[in-house]
């Protein structure tokens, strides 16, 4: 038998794009044809609206900003994003399609990134659909639109970090329930890393340096900084690094499972 010629660089580039785009499009289409994304969007919009007006007191505050809207996002995401992320790999592992996907000519990191992007786009669409909130505030008052834009960016980045954590955890197990609970727990601890809930036990252990380092990792602190309209490059880098770290961990998990 003749050995097929080694694919040229151009072929291989085309193949790579094809593989990445293939998974991305399949995932996006999956969100459209299954109820998952619709449910996510509807619940997100309902809860975001309800929390903003009833708990946040958007009107009563008398300030033209969206702070009451954004402040609840970490808690909303804490429940909803793990639900979106839990199926990413656990479902493939359970149904056996993981074997199909991982024996196609695709690099693991391409599959990980494609699944992440598709889910992130899905959250992004849900978030974008809250635009009437912005229009309302803009109509009623004279808000700082730059700050609101920063708030949206912070919210999107926070959702991205949760998704990356969720994808990594989902790759560890075939049980979506375990993936959900574990992701929610990790996200909660990382949100709270700078607050007494986490800080007190750690300081009680007598590692002040570690406690300080942990405080710097607090998702909530970085999210708050951005959503108040202060777009610091360090906060941006923090979120992007967090996402990159968990996605890399996801690739490592998938690879480790191949060897196990």
């Amino acid at each position: 038998m003749s050995i097929p010629p080694v694919a040229s660089a151009r072929d291989s580039r085309r193949l790579k794009r094809g593989a990445f785009a293939g998974v991305l499009l399949r995932e996006l289409r999956g969100y459209l044809i299954t109820p998952v994304a619709w449910l996510f969007t509807v619940i997100f919009l309902l809860l975001a609206g309800a929390l903003t007006f009833y708990l946040g007191g958007l009107f009563e505050r008398g300030q033209a900003d969206l702070q009451p809207f954004f402040q609840f996002h970490p808690w909303l995401y804490l429940v909803l994003v793990p639900a979106l992320a839990m199926r990413l790999w656990a479902e493939e592992r359970r149904s056996g399609t993981l074997e199909l996907l991982m024996t196609l000519p695709i690099r693991p990191w391409e599959a990980v990134l494609a699944k992440f992007l598709a889910a992130w786009i899905c959250v992004g669409v849900a978030l974008a659909l809250t635009f009437p909130m912005w229009l309302t505030i803009d109509y009623l008052g004279n808000p700082d639109n730059g700050a609101i834009l920063a708030g949206y960016l912070g919210s999107l980045l926070l959702a991205g970090a949760f998704l990356a954590i969720g994808e990594c955890v989902s790759a560890m197990t075939r049980s979506q329930v375990i993936a959900f609970i574990l992701t929610a727990a990790i996200c909660f601890l990382l949100l709270m890393a700078g607050y007494p809930l986490v800080q007190q036990p750690v300081q009680a252990l007598g590692w002040p340096v570690f406690a300080d380092a942990l405080a710097e990792l607090s998702l909530y602190a970085h999210f708050n900084a951005i959503s108040r309209g202060v777009l610091d490059l360090r906060d941006l880098a923090y979120f992007l690094l967090t996402i990159a770290f968990w996605l890399t961990a996801c690739v490592v998990v998938l690879d480790t499972k191949r060897g196990a």
């Binding site: 050995i3 080694v6 094809g18 293939g22 299954t34 399609t97 074997e99 024996t103």
Partner: protein, 312 residues
């Protein structure tokens, strides 16, 4: 072609695959047999790149599956055990997805998809969601995925499981047809599949390769090889006379249907002798047959289940 060299896979203390050497060249269909848990699927998963070996190596068309995984996977078509596919997708979408990942697009893609759809008779279900399909259709959809890129090497893990006899025959014909210029490994439990489509057989047990050869060579290892069997009314004298023939090892009568089987001594040809004796005795016999050997009996013996061999 597909080759493995001292391939091994260990799960903790369990050696699932042990020192496996396989070599399948174009034109060969290797039937891989073995009891459940013998390491068939594990070996195939390593060659397909789903699992990593703990020792040894595997190559597809010269590409090492660990060091050059993408090129190895491009050269291989793989039907995993259980034929998994994305249940929520429509058949056409699923095939397009596989084509896109394989780098097929535009006119060549449409042509190849058309060929596969015709070959595996998927026209009627193209717009159906895969999870609503019967087991046979689902297997053919996954098979279409494996053949889409016209690979020079193929691994099919139980390709006819769940298919009805007509569909099985079609898939067998398809495999024989493709075998002309491809290297194919076929994992199966159906021994008749081996005699119909494979030109080589390997039997695995406890992760090790026990026997390898052509189906005829394996049949020759059977105690039934060269045996003569027939139906005759119960006759103790006839049995005694047959057993006394110099080249005859043993005579057995199936307690169920009364079929008499006369086993030769190793390598002896006894058909003429037996026939002469039967004629001389004027025995009325039916369905006199020279046995080629039974793969199921060789399989049982090689995999360590001698007890069931006689019943078969």
């Amino acid at each position: 072609m597909i080759e493995t060299e001292r391939l091994g896979k260990r799960y903790g203390t369990l050696q699932a695959v042990d020192d496996l050497d396989l070599r399948v060249t174009a034109g060969q269909v290797l039937g891989l047999l073995g009891p459940n848990g013998a390491g068939k699927s594990t070996s195939m998963r390593i060659i397909a790149g789903y699992l990593l070996p703990t020792s040894g190596s595997a190559r597809v068309c010269g590409h090492d599956v660990v060091r050059d995984p993408l090129n190895a996977r491009r050269a291989l078509g793989y039907l995993p055990e259980g034929a998994p596919s994305y249940g929520e997708m429509k058949v056409r979408e699923f095939l397009r997805f596989a084509a896109r990942i394989r780098g097929l697009r535009g006119i060549p893609r449409d042509r190849r998809m058309g060929e596969m759809i015709a070959l595996l008779q998927l026209e009627a279900v193209l717009e159906r969601t895969i999870e609503t399909l019967s087991k046979g259709f689902r297997r053919r959809v996954c098979l279409a995925q494996a053949l889409l890129h016209d690979p020079p090497a193929l691994i099919l893990d139980e390709p006819t499981d769940g298919l009805d006899p007509n569909q099985q025959r079609e898939v067998h014909a398809l495999i024989r047809d493709m075998a002309r210029d491809r290297a194919i490994i076929l994992c199966t439990h159906a021994l008749n599949e081996v005699s119909t489509v494979c030109n080589r057989v390997a039997i695995l047990s406890d992760g090790r390769l026990r026997v390898q050869g052509t189906p005829a060579e394996l049949e020759a290892q059977s105690r039934y090889h060269g045996a003569v069997s027939f139906h005759a009314p119960a006759n103790a004298l006839l049995r005694e006379l047959l057993a006394r023939l110099p080249e005859v090892q043993e005579v057995e009568i199936d307690p169920g249907d009364g079929r008499v089987t006369v086993f030769p001594r190793a390598g002896a040809r006894i058909l003429g002798e037996v026939q002469r004796l039967l004629d001389a005795q004027g025995a009325k016999v039916d369905e006199l047959q020279l046995e080629r050997g039974r793969l199921d009996e060789v399989f049982s013996r090689v995999t360590g289940h001698v007890a069931t061999a006689r019943a078969a």
